[in-house]
Amino acid sequence: MFTCRPLVSPPLPRRLAVASPLAPARPPPSSASSLRVVRCMAKERRVRMVAKQIQRELADMLTRDPVLQRAVLPEAALGADQYLSSLTTIADVELSNDLQVCKVYVSVFGDERGKKVAIAGLKAKTKYVRSQIGKRMKLRLTPEIRFIEDESMERGSRILAILDKLKEEREQQEGNEEEEDGEGANLSEEEEGDWDADEPDEEDIIYVK
């Protein structure tokens, strides 16, 4: 029965080979499947390198490119070159694994109006930024740029301000205790206290990006 069918029709032996429990028939499809795996991700190190370079290029453009400067600071067009109403910094750049999408976290130091103006200007110039990056960097694909406002700086500074208040309160309590002892002991102990207080603060403060 089996010997007759493969001779008659060619597609049948594949099905029979797959269905049959014969050992030599199994390895070929597994090797074929392993050969067909498609990689569509760059290696981690390359992703990091490209992201870092994009950050450098963007920071340089913010400093030197007149179009971007006017987008971020409208006063620059009027000649107020150095006196800033807001200061824009590229805080971080996240690049996707296939190097096609790039999230740029922008931190703006200034008042609310300055922030809105800066971020709106950057978003308006997204295509210009992409073309400039395409010219400056030699990549196969120029990534799509997305500007995202970054507020972690402000939150971090608020938390640190609160911690500083707590530290000052503790120092005041220690100062009150030391005043009872005497002035001479006061000075040396205060210095030692400052020195000791720095290290645990370093340990306590954990900065999370």
């Binding site: 913010l62 400093t63 200061l87 910094t89 130091f109 500074s157």
Partner: protein, 143 residues
């Protein structure tokens, strides 16, 4: 009457500051001024903050390295912030003008720390050097 301040003295203090053991004593010996200029130089790998008097003579300086950070942590915003806090607390400024140079990530953090520390800022200037079509820039980096 304003006394003339010799530059040699300030240079000695700067040299003393390079030794780690003497750092704490340097904190005492730094001149205390009320009004001055804070220079923030934020490169991509470090943040340096220099406090000068209005004439430009250096009173105190601090950097991410002197605050204890090393290698890639010097470039982090937290290092910039600690550097700024260290510089301002030592000098005890009340009014200052800020000059920013460079585009590193410590720039924003240092500015926020300066603004929060209670120093009154008269203005913030960006004095990053920029060529008006100068020499040819170096070749592109290949990635």
């Amino acid at each position: 009457m304003t006394k003339a301040i010799p530059k040699i003295g300030s240079r000695r203090k700067v040299r003393i500051g390079l030794r780690r053991n003497a750092r704490f004593s340097l904190r005492k010996s730094a001149r205390r001024i009320t009004k001055g200029v804070i220079h923030v130089q934020a490169s991509f790998n470090n943040t340096i903050i220099t406090v000068t008097d209005p004439q430009g003579r250096v009173v105190f300086w601090s950097s991410a390295g002197t605050c204890g950070f090393k290698s890639s942590r010097k470039a982090s915003p937290y290092a910039g912030q600690r550097t700024a806090v260290d510089a301002i607390r030592t000098v005890g400024l009340q009014r200052a003008e800020v000059m920013v140079k460079g585009a590193g990530s410590g720039r924003d953090a240092a500015l926020r720390a300066i603004a929060k520390s209670g120093v009154r800022l008269s203005c913030i200037r960006d004095v990053t050097p920029m060529p008006h079509n100068g020499c040819r820039p170096p070749k592109k980096r290949r990635l």
